[in-house]
């Protein structure tokens, strides 16, 4: 018996998290009397001094690409150019959506054509990552394969989502890029060059 008692932790040393011991059937203190039943440890306020060496955790918030790379002159030139061109692309897409919303489909299509003109230069920045190259390539062919047909609102929004994603995560995993490309296909885009069809047939033979 003495041996068993020797291994029991004294009540005063129970850590704060074990406020309700398992063997206790006591209830919470009566709020009127403030009496704490036996075996219940009085909750104690915790004082924490925030000093100069404490880091404030703000990790619930996602950093923007501009905040992560504030010195654009010191990053690789391709990334710098790509971020600038993707900003212009986003503006074109935003304009296209707004113009389509007010019924000006010609001006909306004009904004998409300006986007289309930027894509070859963006493709030159594909050294950034394989995902970047794949997504820009898919967007380029998605627009080219429309063969002049105006885009629907859903299609413009899908292009907008793809451009926004590649701008915020230019180094994304390739699987994530494939998912984004599939999202373009879901709204009716053909994201591969037409020659691929013949090439596939030729390889099958």
């Amino acid at each position: 018996m003495n041996n068993v008692l020797a291994f029991q932790q004294p009540t005063s040393l129970i850590p704060d998290t074990q406020v309700l011991p398992h063997q206790s059937h006591s209830k919470y203190p009566n709020p009127d009397t403030g009496v704490v039943p036996q075996n219940l440890v009085n909750p104690k306020p915790k004082l924490r001094i925030v000093g100069k060496d404490d880091i404030i955790d703000n990790s619930a918030q996602r950093i923007s690409i501009e905040e992560l790379y504030p010195a654009s002159e010191a990053i690789k030139p391709e990334l710098n150019v790509a971020l600038r061109l993707l900003s212009v692309s986003s503006t074109c897409i935003q304009e296209a959506i707004e113009l389509l919303h007010i019924g000006d489909s010609v001006a909306s299509d004009d904004a998409i054509q300006r986007l289309q003109a930027i894509l070859p230069e963006l493709f030159c920045c594909r050294i950034i990552s394989d995902s970047f190259g794949a997504m820009i390539n898919a967007t380029y062919h998605a627009l080219k394969n429309q063969e002049g047909l105006p885009l629907t609102k859903h299609q413009i929004q899908a292009i907008g989502r793809a451009v926004s994603r590649i701008r915020s995560e230019p180094f994304m995993r390739f699987e994530a890029a494939v998912e984004e490309i599939m999202a373009l296909e879901e709204v009716g885009f053909i994201v591969e060059p037409p020659e691929f069809e013949y090439l596939a047939d030729w390889l099958d033979e």
Binding site: I55, S59, I63, E67
Partner: protein, 238 residues
């Protein structure tokens, strides 16, 4: 302040650290991680290997660590171009991110520690105080009419996304070495005094793996440090 340029200081230590949510895949994949890194740097040597902490040294210069919740590279002899440091940090970052299947980092940090030697502590103190960044009242102080001993300051700035801590202090270093008696070597005693300039630049908001290029982030942080350190080294404008 007479030291007007960061190039007057020697870059003593360079640390890159990435913190993330605990990834217990380390327990399964530590071997794969270090085998892949060792394939690139065959001289890698283990220094601590435990379930939640693995550390290796490289050429008695780099310390590479992968923990359950962070990975880090310390370079104890960095060059001013950071070339070797960048190569090691980029490789470790890629391999750890891939094998631990990380999606985001809760904190990225780059800490650079510079040191400039002075003949003695008093000379180093005089240079620090002449910058007038520390604006001390005239003495005597509490009945003591002497200059401050080993002065220094620490200042931190933070936005919602990033932060930086700047430490400037006078430091005295004493090195004693008594060789074993059977070796025909003289005991060594050396005292070094100087100014330590320590900058820690870090992110506070989370960073998606798809946003992060280790080489670009370290390069641009290095650029920021070089660009913005001058006021701390030249002192306040009169």
């Amino acid at each position: 302040m007479r030291s007007t340029d960061l190039s007057d200081f020697r870059l003593e230590q360079c640390v890159f650290e990435a913190r993330h949510e605990p990834s217990y895949l380390l327990w399964d994949r530590a071997g794969s991680i270090w085998s892949q890194i060792r394939a690139k740097w065959p001289r890698l040597k283990p220094s601590q290997v435990e379930p939640s902490a693995t550390q290796f040294t490289l050429d008695n210069r780099f310390l590479l660590s992968v923990f359950v919740d962070k990975f880090a590279v310390i370079d104890q002899a960095p060059d001013h171009s950071l070339k070797s440091f960048l190569d090691v940090a980029e490789s470790l970052s890629k391999v750890a991110t891939q094998h631990l299947e990380l999606n985001e980092f809760s904190r990225l940090g780059l800490r650079l520690i510079f040191f400039k030697e002075f003949p003695d502590r008093e000379a180093a103190s005089a240079v620090l105080l002449s910058s007038q960044i520390l604006n001390l009242p005239d003495g005597p102080h509490f009945g003591i009419d002497m200059p401050p001993v080993l002065p220094g300051y620490t200042v931190r700035w933070e936005s919602k996304a990033t932060g930086t801590t700047v430490r400037m202090e006078v430091e005295g270093r004493v090195i004693d070495f008594t060789p074993p008696h059977f070796l025909d070597l003289r005991p060594m005693h050396k005292e070094v005094a100087g100014l330590k300039f320590d900058i820690d630049y870090y992110t506070l908001a989370s960073v998606a793996v798809g946003q992060f290029s280790c080489r670009d982030w370290i390069n641009q942080t290095w650029h920021l440090v070089n660009r913005d350190s001058k006021p701390f080294l030249t002192g306040r404008k009169q």
